[in-house]
Amino acid sequence: MTVTGSRKATVTLPSDRQILITREFDAPRELVWKAWTTPELVRRWWHANRGEMTVCEIDLRVGGKWRYAMQADGFGEVGFHGEYREIEPFERLVSTEAYEGIPDADAHAAVDTLTLTEVDGRTSMTVLVEHPTKEGRDMHIESGMEDGMQDAMNLLEGVAAELR
């Protein structure tokens, strides 16, 4: 397969409690959706080469639960879980996301919104991560800073985007 254009993920900080991740894929959005929501497929990419994914449960319906866990190299098990809130197949997926490494994880759960837009067979993906509490963000960033493994659902506030 040929790779055209930049395939780098872009992380920006639209506001205090949000992180926005964007990426373009050379595939129609139906396939991106499938790769994002099918456990056997998620197992193949979510680990980000940082260990082995040990749990991948997806109950894709509104109110349905999900749980991901991995054995991270040099760190141990890290787990995340949440619940699906809105599902518009191939377009939009809203779910909660709790990082199990912090106390009272569910109270500090983030809300993640995945959006897929297709143009000429290519798909633009955005993942917006919103933390409801400062405490959740702080704990999450802190755990990330300490273990050196930056998980998908950390939250960051700041000016880094402007510091580039």
């Binding site: 397969m1 790779v3 395939r7 780098k8 993920a9 872009t10 992380v11 900080l13 205090d16 992180i19 991740i21 990426r23 894929f25 050379d26 595939a27 396939l31 991106v32 499938k34 790769a35 497929l41 193949r44 990419w45 979510w46 680990h47 980000a48 080469n49 940082r50 400062k134 702080d138 704990m139 960033i141 802190e142 990330g144 800073m145 300490e146 050196g148 493994m149 930056q150 998980d151 998908a152 950390n154 960051l156 506030e157 700041g158 000016v159 880094a160 985007a161 402007e162 510091l163």
Partner: protein, 113 residues
Amino acid sequence: MARAATTADAFNAVAEPRRRQILDVLASGERPVNELVLQLGLAQPLVSKHLRVLREVGAVEVRGDGRRRFYRLNGEALKPIHDWVRTYEQTWSERFEQMDVVLDELKEQEEGR
């Protein structure tokens, strides 16, 4: 690297929109307090309060005294944030590269139908 879970770190210091505004202004160069006050359109005590927080984490440095205090940005103090974003971005990039492989296979399967 252990970090204190208090307000005394760079992440919290830049969490406040007004403080980010101050950093934005200082990004283009050193400014005296009164100019910052003018540029931001905020009350002087409020600006001073935010500057104090930024100073505590080392995000800004000051020289001079009284009304002739000049503030400037200290990028080094904001490096943890910068590094954090870069690492976070790197994780996602690697994740998506794996996803590309999966997607290529899915495309081939579709075409083979």
